[in-house]
Symmetry: C2
Subunit: 369 residues, 2 copies
Amino acid sequence: MDRRSFLTKAAVGGTAAAAASALAAPAIAQEMPKITWRVTSSFPKSLDTIYGAAETMAGYVRDMTDGNFSIQVFAAGEIVPGGPPAIDAAAAGTVEACHTATYYNWGQDPTYALGCTVPFGLNYRQMNAWLYYGDGITQLNEFFNKNGLQYLPCGNTGVQMGGWYRKEINSVADLQGLKMRIGGFAGKVIEKVGVVPQQIPGGDIYPSLEKGTIDAAEWVGPYDDQKLGFYKVAPYYYYPGWWEGGPTLATCVNLAKWNELPKSYQQILATACEAANSNMMASYDHKNPAALRELVANGAQLRPFPQDVLEATFNAANETYAEVSAGNEMFAKIKASQDAFKKDAYLWAQIAEYNYDTFMMVQQQAGKL
Amino acid sequence: MDRRSFLTKAAVGGTAAAAASALAAPAIAQEMPKITWRVTSSFPKSLDTIYGAAETMAGYVRDMTDGNFSIQVFAAGEIVPGGPPAIDAAAAGTVEACHTATYYNWGQDPTYALGCTVPFGLNYRQMNAWLYYGDGITQLNEFFNKNGLQYLPCGNTGVQMGGWYRKEINSVADLQGLKMRIGGFAGKVIEKVGVVPQQIPGGDIYPSLEKGTIDAAEWVGPYDDQKLGFYKVAPYYYYPGWWEGGPTLATCVNLAKWNELPKSYQQILATACEAANSNMMASYDHKNPAALRELVANGAQLRPFPQDVLEATFNAANETYAEVSAGNEMFAKIKASQDAFKKDAYLWAQIAEYNYDTFMMVQQQAGKL
């Protein structure tokens, strides 16, 4: 019944109740409509810091909207398997969004990896500078939108460790035939220097290292690695993880669902992701130092990768980029944009920041901090 | 016809209107009440990146609330002078909040400086780790709340440069009697090694350097320094700025105004500040590399501080902290918390992150990036 018919009833002498029931719904803008989303994480809850970035984001969104925009986060395997399927589920609309490392999907298109990290890529701060000010998010969304997704940066681990080895690696020759658990695009690069990459789920790494089915395995960094106890069966702990120089996690939203959001909710989600992006880095930076101390106390042997290993893998990475770029215009374009920024960023980084940190590290070693 | 006149008209002819006018105002929660705030910045608009962090924050808040929570940012001098008075104005409620470097107010209480940076303090990532996960925000708010303020981190410059010098500094002896424009708490430290600190507003630095009224001046980093043209009159550009290892800007909110905010608006403001915190760092990281190149092309002479200068100022800083801590329990407590974290953080930082960056810098120098 519309307002016009109410007027008619009133005119014929209708009662108050009739009038009240006849009132149309008042035109109050739905400032904060009730929306419930499901976000599937590519990660298990045991990777609490990475998984946690999605919970941080969801918590911010909930508290900013008095619970009206409710995002429930599901761990890997709860509704969608871990790893690559999370993006597919978000693109298909099985869930409204996923939280993932987009390099999981490099096999579908290597361009996916550029939304996370590639070997010898941008470090944490450089990745953010490129994403937020170097047109990075816009360029990535050209690609992600075509795949039915909106890409929002949402977390970072910083430079990871280079993994656990049963024997010392003294030169690139020691990599020949080395069976190493290493994922995705990095595996493609490290093959070029003789490593035989192995795809093994997290839970199977320890027994495989123990039995010697594999010779080495990379995971994340001190905090996460400690929990899996690799130091007991593969004590040589190498650094740096040149294939993970600043991996960005992302919330990838189904594009239609993103476009349906009110503008204010789009901003709420994007801001929550931006805050969660640095919040996750802060969390790792707070947890890793103590974990590193404990690992070393328990027998982990810290080793830097030999220079020739880094040089050989750096060259292998560049060969790989040339090969992929030749057949993939989007990859070529975005990689070139990252590289152009990286070149200048590493010039500036070696001035104030590097010398400050170096001085402080010397003081740390001298026991003066 | 408006609703009021409709009700009046209806009342003369029937009962419906009487009932309608008797209805209490419906219990519609004000999900997004209209609130207008003024934020005074300690900075001029010419420092567009630092000033800009407040605009970024205000823009996020506006867009997340469809404009209902409106924050207008005023540059230094528009309603409150630049520098220290911004915090006083926020504490007094002259404005609802300010955006500032809290070390400006170290003269009132040195504890203020710990909310921003102190010489040889935490770097950008360490500051965030301490603030968000090391109980830093909570500890600082014990202090800020007592001063009528709520402290929210909101921006960072990263390690700054060490300033512009008319003559080369070859050892700590060259600091004796050096008249240097350097602010606040750092001035107190650098006095101990013979420098005569000068307080000079930004606009007066260039003519003072040109005339030789002062021998040196520090400002921010390549992007901001370039605009003021110091390289023309004081070409030696030293690094690192050991007194600004990771200065955090902050939005300091009048405590009563903070407490009056609905919970959702508190979370919106805090999340906007957290996002703006890393966003400002990304902005500088994007702008500084190109500015550094141009400065050097225009004749700036890059120089690292001699090791004995860093060591002497490091010792001077530690002496200062001991003196201040002896008479200020809150300063002592918070400084000890930062130091405990810094010690471990600089252990971890020298493993994966430092070695990754070092390798990449070597490639940069070899022209391979």
